[in-house]
């Protein structure tokens, strides 16, 4: 069994109109090498499901997003995601804007194959008012509490970036926070991972094996992508690239800015992308942010 493939192979599995979930959180451990391959493709009409960072903004900028299912889009150190903002303000996006908790509850329901999970999150806000498809349920027990029935968020595909993987599809997330990648993977018909390092077959210590957060049967493909989260952070390997993010932010204020960004960084492929960003020698040594 060998699940090794290229980012191009992954994108070849994707279809117009698919619902695609992304791992990571804001500008942290996003599967950007695969995102760039989507940007190079003619895929369109995607439903993007994310705790959004630059992958949301870039896919919006490229006109690939029909619908966004999200709790936020941000670059953190730069609070406002420029291309999300621009496209959102144009009125061009269908939206399901969710509380962060509801978002993961929906993925969890999908992974558990139940139609919904109850929660208080979202009640008494415009989240439920703006999205009448979100329904409430009354507890069948004596308390009779009215709760939100967060519907399952089923994904066609999950895209996740991890620190290490093997060719069987085993993965390790070694950063301090695994985020919700396990839920994204479980909610999808197919999960593809990109990884900083790929081994033929893991031979881990017990301490290392604790960094495995979801099973290989969920993983349909493994892409070797060193610095594949750039310009987002990949704890503990490297931090986000503030200079690159600023360049990206500036593109949203320029006429033809997106095409210029594509031409400068994306169009020529991942090797050229790395060269443009100082190579993996620089990218892999970007300092982790300190708060």
């Amino acid at each position: 069994m060998n699940k090794l493939m290229t980012a191009t192979d992954v994108v070849a599995q994707l279809r117009d109109g698919m619902t695609i979930g992304f791992g990571g959180w804001g500008p942290r451990r996003k599967p950007m090498a695969i995102v760039r391959e989507i940007l190079r493709s003619d895929l369109k009409d995607l439903t993007v499901v994310a705790y959004g960072g630059p992958e949301v903004g870039m896919l919006c900028a490229a006109g690939k997003v029909k619908k966004l299912i999200f709790g936020f889009a941000t670059l953190d150190a730069i609070p406002l995601e420029p291309w999300y903002r621009k496209v959102r303000e144009s009125g061009a996006l269908e939206l399901l804007e969710l509380d962060e908790g509801m978002w993961q509850w929906g993925l969890r329901a999908a992974g558990m194959r139940v139609p919904f999970l109850p929660t208080r999150c979202g009640l008494a806000t415009d989240v439920t008012k703006l999205n009448p498809e979100l329904k409430t349920i009354t507890s069948p027990y004596d308390d009779g509490e009215v709760l939100l029935a967060m519907p399952a968020l089923k994904l066609d595909v999950a895209l996740v970036h991890v620190n290490a993987a093997d060719q069987l599809g085993n993965t390790l997330i070694t950063g301090g926070d695994p985020y919700f990648d396990h839920l994204v993977a479980r909610a999808a018909d197919a999960c593809y991972v990109s990884a900083e390092r790929v081994e033929e077959r893991f031979a881990l210590t017990a301490a290392e094996a604790r960094f495995n957060t979801f099973e290989r049967y969920l993983v349909k493909g493994v892409v070797h992508a060193p610095c594949g989260a750039h310009p987002t952070a990949c704890d503990p390997e490297y931090g986000w690239d503030m200079a690159h993010l600023k360049r990206y932010v500036a593109s949203a204020a320029e006429d033809g800015g997106w095409q210029a960004y594509m031409d400068e960084f994306v169009t020529a492929g991942e090797a050229a992308y790395q060269d443009k960003n100082g190579g993996v020698e620089r990218m892999g040594k970007l300092p982790l942010p300190v708060f």
Partner: protein, 266 residues
């Protein structure tokens, strides 16, 4: 009052922010942003040693971490508080967060999503983030660095992201009793929700600020707390702690012009 101690308005607000956590015992104190984080850290080092706190990433610390580059300081962790754990804490109600919403209305409803029409907004901000879940599950307080009618809007906020005390938004059977809004700390005053039916009251005024000025800059009617007085000034001991917690003086960049705590006479 020790008027001899000089302090900035940001430092006054940090001390006021720390008061929001008074009496909370063992809850996760989440101060989002420089002033709230310093307020939470100050609370933990003074009146609230039981508070739980993180390194603003994913580990728990018992010694609040100074902001910014750390030099020789090496954090000592006491546990894990990754995002999944934070949500579990939120849903269990064991948290008191202080955040800076873009808009706040008379009910304490907050907006972090969009300004203007939802479908084609004048300005897209972050998205609702965790506000719906945080607001309905645990105590929240707010920080407002520039008190104005743009923040304290007339009517409801443009997109209700966090719940408040608006009866029209609550249906029978929904549990409202897990929510509580404690304080609003602004650059003019401290407010609370202790008026009749949770009406917002001005609790204390910062030095040199009048109630009329606060009312003038607020989009809805305010009440005066019966014991309305001046916001307590930072003590020398509190200022020493604040300087230790913020060695790079990030607090100086939080308010336009970094005004002094004692407002110059107009």
């Amino acid at each position: 009052m020790s008027d001899k101690v000089e302090f900035s308005l940001a430092e006054l607000m940090i001390v006021a922010a720390s008061e929001a956590w008074r009496g909370d015992g063992e809850v996760l104190a989440s101060g989002i942003g420089v002033i709230p984080r310093l307020g939470a850290s100050l609370a933990k080092l003074t009146h609230g040693p039981g508070l739980l706190m993180t390194d603003s990433e994913c580990f728990l610390v018992e010694d609040p971490i100074p902001l910014g580059p750390r030099g020789d300081f090496v954090p000592k962790y006491s546990g894990s508080m990754n995002f999944e754990r934070v949500f579990e804490c939120v849903w269990g109600g064991q948290r008191h967060a202080m955040i800076g919403p873009t808009q706040i209305d008379r009910y304490g409803q907050t907006n972090l999503s969009v300004i203007g029409d939802y479908k084609k907004p004048k300005a897209a901000i972050l998205g609702v983030r965790g506000l719906p879940g945080n607001s309905i599950n645990h105590i929240n307080s707010f920080i407002v660095p520039s008190h104005s009618k743009r923040v304290f809007v007339e009517g409801e906020v443009d997109m209700v992201s966090g719940v408040g005390y608006n009866p029209a938004r609550w249906e029978p059977g929904m549990r409202q009793d897990f929510m509580a809004i404690r304080h609003i700390v602004t650059d003019l005053c401290v407010m609370d929700f202790e008026g009749p039916e949770h009406a917002i009251r001005v609790r204390s005024l910062h030095p040199g600020v009048s109630f009329d000025e606060v009312q003038e800059k607020t989009g809805f009617p305010l009440l005066k707390a019966p014991n309305l007085g001046e916001t307590p000034h930072p003590t020398a001991a509190q200022l020493t702690l604040i300087r230790r917690l913020d060695p790079h003086d990030l607090r100086a960049a939080q308010l336009k012009g970094n005004p002094p705590g004692m407002r110059a006479a107009a």
